[in-house]
């Protein structure tokens, strides 16, 4: 069945350092979505990538979709304390399946 793997599970970075999380799907996706969940909150949509090889930027966040539409990454440049939370990728095949998420901790 459709599976989405995400690494790393946890990441501790010093404030100002960069952060990357990676996502891989067992099947080709029609699109991939990224969500952020703050501690105690619910997931909030960040972005959707549709095209093979697509790259999108939101301020310090850069999202990539692989050429084969089976993998994706999220890169945050110069992390800030407001970036704390868990970042989930979600693969949209015949249903939307979430990876297990990467929990980002920022050390001041």
């Amino acid at each position: 069945g459709q599976q989405v793997m995400q690494i790393p599970q946890y990441q501790h970075v010093q404030e100002g350092e960069d952060f990357t999380t990676y996502c891989n799907s067992s099947t080709t996706l029609s699109n991939i979505q990224w969500y952020k969940q703050r501690p105690g909150g619910h997931p909030v949509f960040l972005i959707q990538l549709v095209k093979s090889g697509e790259v999108k930027k939101q301020k310090r966040l850069t999202f990539q979709f692989g050429e084969a539409k089976k993998n994706s990454s999220l890169h945050i440049t110069a992390t800030q304390t407001t970036d704390v939370g868990t970042y989930f990728c979600a693969g949209d095949g015949d249903k939307i399946i979430f990876g297990k998420g990467t929990r980002l901790h920022i050390l001041p």
Binding site: N31, Q33, P43, F45, Q48, F88, I96, F98, G99
Partner: protein, 119 residues
């Protein structure tokens, strides 16, 4: 309403009791998803509805779990004979996605979740 509404926000029940969790999606959203999130864990897919039909029930953990949707609106997730391992936050999300329009819009709008604790 303005967003996805879930009730109750918190439910404490005794092992063996039945519980019903309700989700009111954003008006006009055709797709509705249920996920389970255990403490500190990821989102586990349970079931999704396209309109009132559930094309994929493969995520339901056991036959104690069932869900329905009526009027292409409200959905209810029912857990019978609750067990302690059912304790989790149950998240509902809706999306304007339609399989028939060809739209590629799958963004999910989540509710605040229903926190279930089984003693």
């Amino acid at each position: 309403g303005a967003g996805v509404s879930q009730s109750p926000s918190n439910k404490v029940t005794e092992k063996g009791k039945d519980v019903e969790l309700r989700c009111d999606p954003i008006s006009g959203h055709t797709a509705l998803y249920w996920y389970r999130q255990r403490l500190g864990q990821g989102l586990e897919f349970l079931i999704y509805f396209q309109g009132n039909s559930a094309p994929d029930k493969s995520g339901l953990p056991s036959d104690r779990f069932s869900a329905e949707r009526t009027g292409e609106s409200v959905s209810t997730l029912t857990i019978q004979r609750t067990q302690q391992e059912d304790s989790a936050v149950y998240l509902c999300a809706s999306s304007p996605r339609s399989l028939y329009s060809g739209a590629n819009t799958g963004e999910l709008f989540f509710g605040e979740g229903s926190r279930l604790t089984v003693l």
